[in-house]
């Protein structure tokens, strides 16, 4: 089942390769069909998933390179399955958004489907080599998406993205090898190495932790490894931005969840204060830098950095509440940030041909429905209760409060800045007298196809905000098991 989910897009991309490149309709249709099928399959998995059951579900395991202990091992828990669904959803919406791409349509969708395989693989892999392969597989299509369909500085942005994340992942590879050799088990199996990692000497645990940390930190991204992100976002095509913010950033956080916490609990404990501090720097510093931005996409990119800080804080605090809050923030941000990038990158930009905040203005009166959708996104992003952003942030801060009191207070104060830059942007972009950017008078309002992208995201943001119980119930057991494991390790491991 998981294999089908992961490799169906690859099949799709092979079919696309055989289609004539002029037939845009067929290319878009096939790509949409495959991404939609992915969403259906992922929902089918959800229906068959048993939240309370211990261990991984839908596991598949075949020997791959037995002499090295490399296996093809897949499986999911509540957290990874939720991320799989999110990936399938955002990829579908990204595919629909990208109908507006008219150059090299075939190549674009081939890469998009390849990217989907990579992302899904990362969230389902239970073998380090497999994980690493998928991790790298994500890098390459995204590099081309930015480098070919990007804005004027796409070369610089794509290279920066590529080199930065490549450097991070190569260091991660070193960590994987150290874990492999250090454990002496002769296996790359994640679950087997979970036990082994805990019995490594604390010295080695530290080094392995740092290697993984660098790999994940670039992806999240954690301050000060974040500067590739605004450049990548500004240049990336909207469909790419949606996936970059919605899914790719979650890969780093997921790495901490799947690898660092359960496998290296002592080192994670030792670095917890550092991680939490970096998380709060992300929140507060990200918000301040976002306020200084003139380009809407840059602003939203920095707000992503700010929001990922909550995930880091929650992961570092390692209480059941903070961990489930962190996962919820991942899901919520995975819905809100694609919506925001879609709005500023496509809906606004294609009509006004600018993303400079001071050049926009009065959009409430010029494209009323689109403006209300943007206002919705802004309030979701600034954490208005009733929408999903608030729930995750509340759970994270509440859960981290007992562990990092001062840091939580600092992060809470950052929420004022978050509200400030969002509303200030709203005032300058939506309110005020209508100006003549993009033509005189009314602009064409949000189209039916664009609503098809925005409405599902808005509905889910609202649902997660109003009634979060089912979503939490979906992954709470996985969180509790992880927290148990970490706690046991810290009790038992008296290095």
């Amino acid at each position: 089942m998981l294999t089908a989910l992961i490799f169906l897009p690859l099949l799709g991309s092979l079919i696309l390769l055989c289609l004539p490149r002029e037939n845009h309709r067929a290319l878009r249709g096939v790509a949409t069909f495959f991404t939609a099928a992915e969403l259906l399959i992922s929902l089918l998995l959800v229906a068959r998933f048993v939240p309370g059951q211990a261990g991984m579900q839908f596991t598949e395991r075949y020997d791959w390179i037995p002499s090295l202990g490399i296996s093809y091992h897949l499986g999911v828990d509540g957290v990874s399955l939720a991320l799989l669904v999110l990936t399938a959803l955002v990829t579908l919406l990204s595919a629909i958004t990208s109908y507006s791409i008219t150059e090299r349509v075939k190549d674009f969708y081939v890469l998009l489907l390849l990217l989907e395989t990579g992302m899904l693989g990362v969230f389902a892999a239970l073998d380090y080599v497999l994980f690493y392969v998928f991790w790298e597989l994500v890098l390459v299509p995204m590099y081309f998406l930015i480098g070919i369909w990007g804005g004027p500085r796409r070369q610089y942005a794509a290279l920066k993205f590529f080199i930065y994340t490549l450097a991070g992942s190569v260091i991660m590879l070193v960590g994987i090898l150290a874990l492999y050799f250090g454990s002496g088990l002769g296996t790359f199996d994640m679950l087997a190495l979970q036990e082994a990692g805990r019995s490594l000497s604390s010295h080695l645990q530290w080094w392995v932790f740092i290697a993984f940390f660098l790999g994940f930190a670039v992806k999240v991204p954690i301050f000060p490894f974040h500067t590739w992100l605004p450049d990548a976002h500004v240049e990336a095509p909207t469909g790419g931005s949606m996936l970059l913010a919605g899914i790719l950033l979650k890969m780093g956080a997921y790495g901490f969840y799947r690898i660092s916490l359960p496998t290296l609990p002592d080192a994670t404990q030792a670095f917890a204060v550092t991680l939490a501090t970096l998380g709060v720097i992300n929140i507060v510093y990200g918000a301040f830098v976002a306020m200084a931005q003139q380009d809407l996409k840059r602003m939203v990119a920095y707000s992503s950095i700010s929001h990922m800080g909550f995930v880091m804080l929650g992961l570092a605090a390692m209480t059941p509440r903070s961990l489930s809050g962190a996962v919820f923030v991942m899901l919520s941000h995975g819905l809100i940030s694609p919506l925001m990038f879609f709005l500023v990158g496509t809906v606004l930009y294609e009509r006004t041909h600018t993303r400079i905040i001071d050049e926009l203005g009065g959009l409430y009166n010029r494209m009323p429905v689109a403006a209300v959708v943007l206002a919705f996104g802004i309030f979701a992003n600034l954490g208005l209760p009733g929408l999903s952003g608030f729930v995750g942030e509340f759970a994270t801060l509440l859960g981290s409060f007992d562990v990092f009191r001062t840091l939580v207070i600092a992060a809470s104060l950052g929420l004022v800045i978050t509200a400030a830059y969002h509303l200030w942007m709203m005032q300058r972009v939506l309110m005020g007298e209508a100006n003549t950017v993009g033509g005189v008078g009314l602009l064409p309002d949000i189209s039916r196809r664009e609503l098809l992208v925005a409405v599902p995201l808005m509905a889910l943001i609202l649902f997660l905000g109003v009634y979060p119980a089912p979503t939490f119930a979906f992954f709470n057991d996985a969180i509790l098991r992880l927290q148990n494991m970490v706690q046991l390790a810290s009790l038992g491991g008296g290095f």
Binding site: R321, V408, V416, A420, Q427, M431, A473
Partner: protein
């Protein structure tokens, strides 16, 4: 009936949803849906209220979310305090809905206006029905959202949108304090649910938690109240919020939302009682704000600004009552103020609608032209000034009585002086607006643009000053009736029935609500009455009889006058201290990010590229590549990209698959070695 209390909140929500999804399909742009919903909601609320009079109280809750190992609830509770709030909110909201039919007629965003009114009514009812602090906070923010949207109703004007943003952000500062208070509360009590908390409170105070922590929780929660109820030093948003339509000022910024802070303290009163130090601060902030805002109200020329500062001052009064240990005094004054202040705002709206100015010095002599407005205003003014037997007298008496018994004579006398100032400034406003000679605007004048109505844009027409129809008069008459009589329920003539009922029923819901037991004092009543009469007399001497020259007083007190006129320069101070430093700091952070953090990255990349070029060695394995992967990546990447842009990507996709296989092979080789 009480178990159906949630229906009162659900009806406006339904109305909101219908108006959002069918804006074009509705007749009259949906106003009737909002009015029907809030009218029905008022009936339900009245039914619930009648049951609470009989002592009914209940709470119902359902799981909302389980964060890891802890479950948080969502539900509603009904008791005496909620019963009173339900009726006040739905009644004032209904009156405002009706008044707006006329006031907002022809507005460019009439439909949006009614839609948000429904959302507000829902959120405000949710706030008073909430049975735990998390739920309270959710609705607390939602009423703030509605306030933001309605202050910025005419967002074309920059001043209006700035006022909206300012309101949201200043209250947000308080809200963050409240949020931290909630975290701290949960950390020590492990529940946010009122009933569970009151049950746990005795064991907490018995020594598990030190009193400083409890005081910190109480004061942090109070910070939220300071923001929402516009108390010093977070009051600066409320006067600017007058940029919104006047009926909105009446509903949100006078009667209901701004009273939410008072409601919060009243709701969490057991907590505050168990941290007595916090009560002292509440009384101090309330007493000071009451006096402070009243002094600013003395010199305002804009009729809405007078009322705005008056609202801040009256809210301060409520906190003075609460801080003096009397739950009843605060909530009683909340109720009467809601009626007389909503009345005064709507009456001012009627004046603004007729005259198209908000400047008191352009009014005058309106008593002949706007008789209903004038007389209802006068009832509201006298009620607020504290003339018996009107409502304001009884509730103010209750506040002063609590302050008198609290053993803080300074605060008591501050309250008395405030009563005098209140009577003075409302007399001044009354005289300038309704009596004397008609000044510029009060005579028929040519009018191009309605100052409070940028929505009305038409050709120039001669405008005759006349009173609005029933849509204006009915709400004024209903509220005037309540502003006159609502206080009798707490009158000493009948033995303080409101006080006794409230104290008994609240004590039944939580033992911690122990009654304040205030013995009535004729001295306090006499002092309050003398202050009110003295203020009115002074006002009449200056503005009515003109025995005391206004100009001479201003000349004699010029520095003080300037200080008041500039609202103690607080806006200027905050602009420097907070706004500019924040913006400057954000620019600094932006520059650091661009030139320092990213600069380092680019420098490293450049260095790597240099090494990569000089080495010129591309035959390294993947693992070796890790050592100088940066440099290699630059070169390889730029080659790939250049080719990709000139040729077909398709080719490279096949290459990519091959490269991945090669990479795996490389790992395998290294691993074997």
């Amino acid at each position: 009936m009480a178990e159906l209390a949630w229906v009162a909140a659900a009806l406006p929500l339904l109305s909101f949803v219908v108006q959002v999804f069918a804006p074009g399909a509705l007749r009259r742009r949906g106003d009737w849906i909002g009015i029907t919903a809030v009218a029905a909601s008022f009936l339900v609320s009245t039914g619930v209220f009648l049951e609470t009079i009989a002592g009914v109280h209940l709470h119902v809750s359902y799981p909302w979310a389980t964060f890891g190992d802890r479950t948080f609830q969502f539900g509603f509770q009904v008791d005496a305090l909620t019963g009173v709030m339900l009726v006040v909110v739905t009644l004032v909201s209904l009156m405002v809905h009706v008044f707006s039919l006329g006031y907002m007629e022809g507005d460019i965003r009439y439909g949006r206006y009614y839609t948000i009114l429904s959302l507000f009514t829902f959120s405000m009812l949710g706030l008073v029905l909430a049975d735990n602090f998390l739920e309270l906070f959710v609705f607390w923010e939602l009423v703030g959202l509605c306030s933001f949207l309605l202050i910025g109703h005419w967002y074309e004007e920059k001043a209006n949108s700035t006022a909206a943003v300012k309101a949201f952000l200043v209250t947000r500062v308080g809200d963050i304090g409240m949020l931290i208070g909630i975290f701290l509360l949960y950390s020590v009590a492990e529940t946010l649910q009122y009933q569970e908390l009151w049950a746990k409170l005795p064991s907490l105070t018995a020594g598990l938690v030190d009193s400083r922590t409890l005081t910190a929780i109480a004061l942090l929660l109070f910070a939220g109240a300071v923001g929402k109820s516009a108390q010093f030093p977070l009051h600066v948003w409320l006067p600017d919020a007058m940029a919104g339509p006047t009926p909105v000022s009446a509903l949100i910024h006078a009667a209901t939302m701004v009273a939410a802070g008072v409601y919060l303290v009243a709701r969490a009163f057991p907590l505050f009682l168990s941290a007595p130090a916090s009560l002292y601060w509440i009384a101090l902030v309330g007493g000071f704000t009451a006096f402070f805002a009243a002094t600013i109200a003395l010199v305002q020329d804009d009729i809405k600004k007078v009322l705005a500062y008056s609202t801040i001052s009256q809210l301060g009064y409520m906190f003075l009552g609460l801080g003096s240990g009397s739950l009843v005094a605060g909530s009683f004054h909340l109720m009467t103020q809601a009626f007389f202040k909503a009345l005064l705002f709507l009456a001012s709206g009627s004046v603004i609608h007729a005259l198209h100015t908000q400047n008191l010095h352009e009014m005058g002599g309106l008593s002949r032209r706007l008789p209903v407005t004038t007389w209802t205003w006068i009832i509201g003014a006298l009620s607020m000034a504290g003339i018996p037997p009107l409502a304001g007298f009884w509730s103010k008496d209750e506040v002063l009585l609590a302050a008198f018994h609290s053993g803080r004579p300074v605060l008591f006398w501050l309250g008395v002086i405030t009563a005098l100032l209140t009577a003075f400034y409302i007399t001044r406003a009354t005289w300038l607006a309704f009596f004397g000679e008609g000044r510029s605007a009060a005579r028929a004048r040519k009018e191009a643009v309605h100052p409070d109505h940028p929505g009305h844009r038409g050709g120039e027409h001669v405008h005759h000053v006349h009173e609005g129809d029933w849509r204006f008069r009915l709400p004024l008459l209903v509220l005037a009736f309540l502003a006159a009589t609502a206080g009798l329920v707490g009158s000493s003539w009948f033995g303080h029935p409101f006080t006794r009922w409230m104290e008994e029923t609240m004590a039944a819901t939580a033992p911690a609500f122990h009654p304040a037991e205030l013995s009535p004092s004729v001295f306090v009543q006499l002092v309050a009455l003398l202050a009110a009469l003295g203020g009115i007399l002074l006002g009449w001497l200056v503005y009515g009889a003109r025995v005391i020259s206004r100009e001479a007083v201003i000349a004699a007190l010029r520095p003080l006058y300037a200080l008041l006129k500039h609202k103690y320069y607080l806006d200027e101070l905050y602009a420097w201290l907070f706004v500019r430093t924040t913006v400057a700091f954000s620019w600094l952070a932006g520059a650091v990010d661009r030139y320092v953090v990213d600069g380092a990255v680019n420098a490293l990349g450049w260095l790597g590229a240099q090494i990569g070029f000089s080495a010129g060695d591309f035959d390294q394995t993947v693992i070796d590549g890790a050592v100088n992967g940066v440099g290699q990546g630059v070169v390889a990447g730029s080659h790939l990209l250049r080719r990709a842009q000139t040729g077909y990507v398709t080719t490279y996709l096949w290459v990519l698959l091959g490269a991945m296989a090669a990479g795996l092979l490389a790992i395998a080789i290294v691993a074997i070695r």
